[in-house]
Symmetry: C2
Subunit: 149 residues, 2 copies
DNA sequence: GATGGGGCTTCCCACGATGGTAAGGTCAAG
DNA sequence: CTTGACCTTACCATCGTGGGAAGCCCCATC
């Protein structure tokens, strides 16, 4: 099995397989006389493992750990679970951040007329975003007239 | 005002101010005889605008657009709103993706004993993640009865 | 005037994970 | 033997940010 076949079988591009090889995420593939990398079912399974882990958002570093646990028949599931839970926590934190961004923007967008007039609470927020009155947007937004541009 | 003062006043690092300068996000700063960049309140306000927009997750490209609208007194708020709404949609899409990852991992984690035994539904999922039975994690994984969660 | 510390300048490198491309070797089918 | 598909390495780009080196400048203190 050469790299292209392994790529199709695993869902990982040949490019990325070489990259994983290069950074040592997977053991260096054996080579043919013509210096072609060759793969067996075992390597393809590793690549699918990596692919799936990437799909779940694990970083390369985490995947390195997961792979070593996966290869270790005697690993305690506790360690795997710890990695997963840490990643879930990181995802949740990032989600919360993005949710906050989206909520703020939804609110500003809701307050923006979205017509031909130039007055815009979104730009007003970006201009003076550090001011302590984010919740009080009525139609009087125009009266804040602090545009000094 | 030199770049360090502008950085402190805007919350943008000097490094990033130079970068924004370089990529043309802001107009090239005027220079002193000693080739030092100099800033006025106006530029600091632009930098704060950028900072705030970055906090809300806008890309540089979007910020370029937002800045040009901000500078244009006659802009229609419609255009600003369109950018904001598009960004909200992108955020929501990304949040949904990450939420799906987190939910899957939470489920797997919940099913993992997390003890000294090597059997682990998380690794099992990563191994055969592409198989068509994602919900069917048989209880036979833990043949000795469950102790935790 | 000299000296020293801190700030400024440009330039280069790094990240993470991926894609692109170019130049050259190889394999298999016609 | 030719052709086209495939492999190899090597380099560049992304995006936004940080780090650092080498060298110049400003100001205060001696």
């Amino acid at each position: 099995m050469n790299i292209g076949q392994a790529a199709r079988a695993s869902g990982v591009t040949a490019k990325m397989i070489r990259y994983y090889d290069e950074i040592g995420l997977v053991a260096p593939a054996s080579r043919t006389d013509a210096n072609y990398r060759e793969y067996e079912t075992r390597e393809v399974n590793e690549l699918r493992f990596i692919k799936r882990a990437r799909t779940l958002g694990f970083s390369m570093e985490e995947i390195t750990l997961l792979l070593s646990l996966w290869r270790d028949r005697g690993r305690p599931s506790r360690e795997v679970k710890a990695i997963a839970e840490k990643h879930v926590a990181a995802l949740d934190a990032r989600i919360a951040e993005m949710q906050a961004m989206a909520d703020t923007l939804r609110h500003l967008s809701h307050c923006c007329a979205g017509d031909e007039r130039p007055d815009c609470p979104i730009l007003a927020d970006l201009t003076g975003g550090s001011e302590p009155t984010p919740a009080r947007h009525q139609r009087t937004v125009q009266s804040r007239g602090r545009q000094r541009d």
